[in-house]
Amino acid sequence: MERQTDQSLFEALKEGSEIAFKKVYEDNRDLFLNFAKRYDLGDDEILDVYQDTYVALYENIENGKCTELKSSLSTYLISIGKYKIMERLRKNNKKINNEFILSSVVDVDIEIEDFDIVYEVLSPEQKLLKQYFERLGDKCKRILTLFYYKQYNINQIMVAGGYNSENVVKSQKSRCLKTLKEAIKNDPST
């Protein structure tokens, strides 16, 4: 029965349900925080790691890397969480001599092996692009988000965005990219 609830939450997340987004976050919060408290991290940091973990899971559902639920949502969160905790401990320069966590992240858990969970720090150019991206009109933001974040192909964008043809999608996307390109070219800091 638990699986079934999880399955429907997963489907709802895939469809972008805000209610599911909140519910899954709240439902797994205690479990995760309690799981993470055995590592050498402060309470605020643990909460921060949980949020990063949750965002990572959501992203992989959104971008289609996680198409079906192979285990429960909480297992996914714990699997990603172990990695994120490790990442945080490393960042804090803490000696990681905890055998348990080492043994558990040597192999990435099967269910998340194809996931994007490494977050690179943005380069100065990428930061600038991000600023200009956020200033774009809604149409551009949407098309670029569908393409680069959700990893839709041109045809899927055509359907999701109600465009008349693939060519319209392509030229719209090119225009948005061009705007960004011009913006950073003309930016005083570059």
Partner: protein
């Protein structure tokens, strides 16, 4: 146009092998192609960064909502909380009395029980040749074959003294309907300084509920609340209903 298609396909993850070769070749010999590709890679990072920030802010918003509501739960307000509880209790009793509705312990158990996920042993494809007892135990546990999980966990217990073995043994007993065994197992964890102490208290309390030994369940829930780490809201709600 062909070049643009190649880049689009790259980002959609749908390059064929042939196209992959073509793509890599363009990267080497065509500097415009390379510049365009690098730009799009950076745009991708920027869009992702932006989206992640939006999501994270949303989650931080949930937390703020949480801390606003938990401010009223500050210890400072204990007298008020007690007064409020009495009011709630009185109105609840009035409600129950008038509508003849009583939550049975069975439904309370069902409403609160949720099997603890396997957070200990990661079952990975690469290790499929791993025939350890631990793997077998957790495979059985994850697929709901509790009797098998119990057998393996018992074996594992004779080999290692790790506390999680007891905890998952308790979980398996509970899921398998061996409620008294579950209680005995969880109790052992409560006696030692285990990472699973709070979790064990919660599940032991639920197990007592299942056996309709509500008084014992109440005692354990009170201890759990004093620990202050796990299932605080659920334990408070459950206590309200039991007392």
């Amino acid at each position: 146009m062909e070049k643009e298609n190649l880049i689009d396909k790259y980002f959609a993850g749908s390059l064929s092998l042939e196209e992959q070769v073509l793509f890599e070749n363009f990267l080497k010999v065509d500097s415009d192609f390379k510049i365009q590709f690098e730009l799009e890679k950076n745009v991708k990072a920027a869009v992702k960064g932006s989206e992640r920030e939006i999501l994270k802010r949303k989650l931080q918003g949930f937390e703020e909502g949480r801390s606003v509501s938990s401010k009223t739960k500050n210890t400072f307000w204990i007298p008020l909380r007690i007064a409020a509880s009495i009011v709630i209790l009185l109105s609840a009793s009035w409600f129950l009395f008038n509508f003849g509705f009583l939550a049975t312990t069975d439904t309370l158990y069902d409403a609160n029980y949720e099997q603890y996920p396997n957070t200990v042993y990661t079952i990975t494809r690469g290790e499929s040749n791993d025939t350890s007892i631990e793997r077998k135990a957790f495979e059985a546990y994850e697929s709901g074959e509790y009797q098998i999980a119990i057998d393996y966990l018992k074996k594992l217990k004779t080999e290692t003294g790790l506390d999680y073995v007891d905890f998952y043994l308790g979980q398996s007993y509970l899921a398998n309907g061996d409620t008294q065994e579950a209680i005995d197992t969880f109790e052992k964890i409560g006696l030692i300084n285990s990472d699973y102490r709070a979790e064990a208290l919660w599940y032991q309390a639920l197990a007592y509920l299942k056996l309709e030994q509500n008084e014992k369940s109440i005692t354990l829930l009170n201890i759990l609340l004093k620990e202050g780490t796990y299932k605080m809201n659920a334990a408070t709600n459950l206590l309200d209903k039991l007392e």
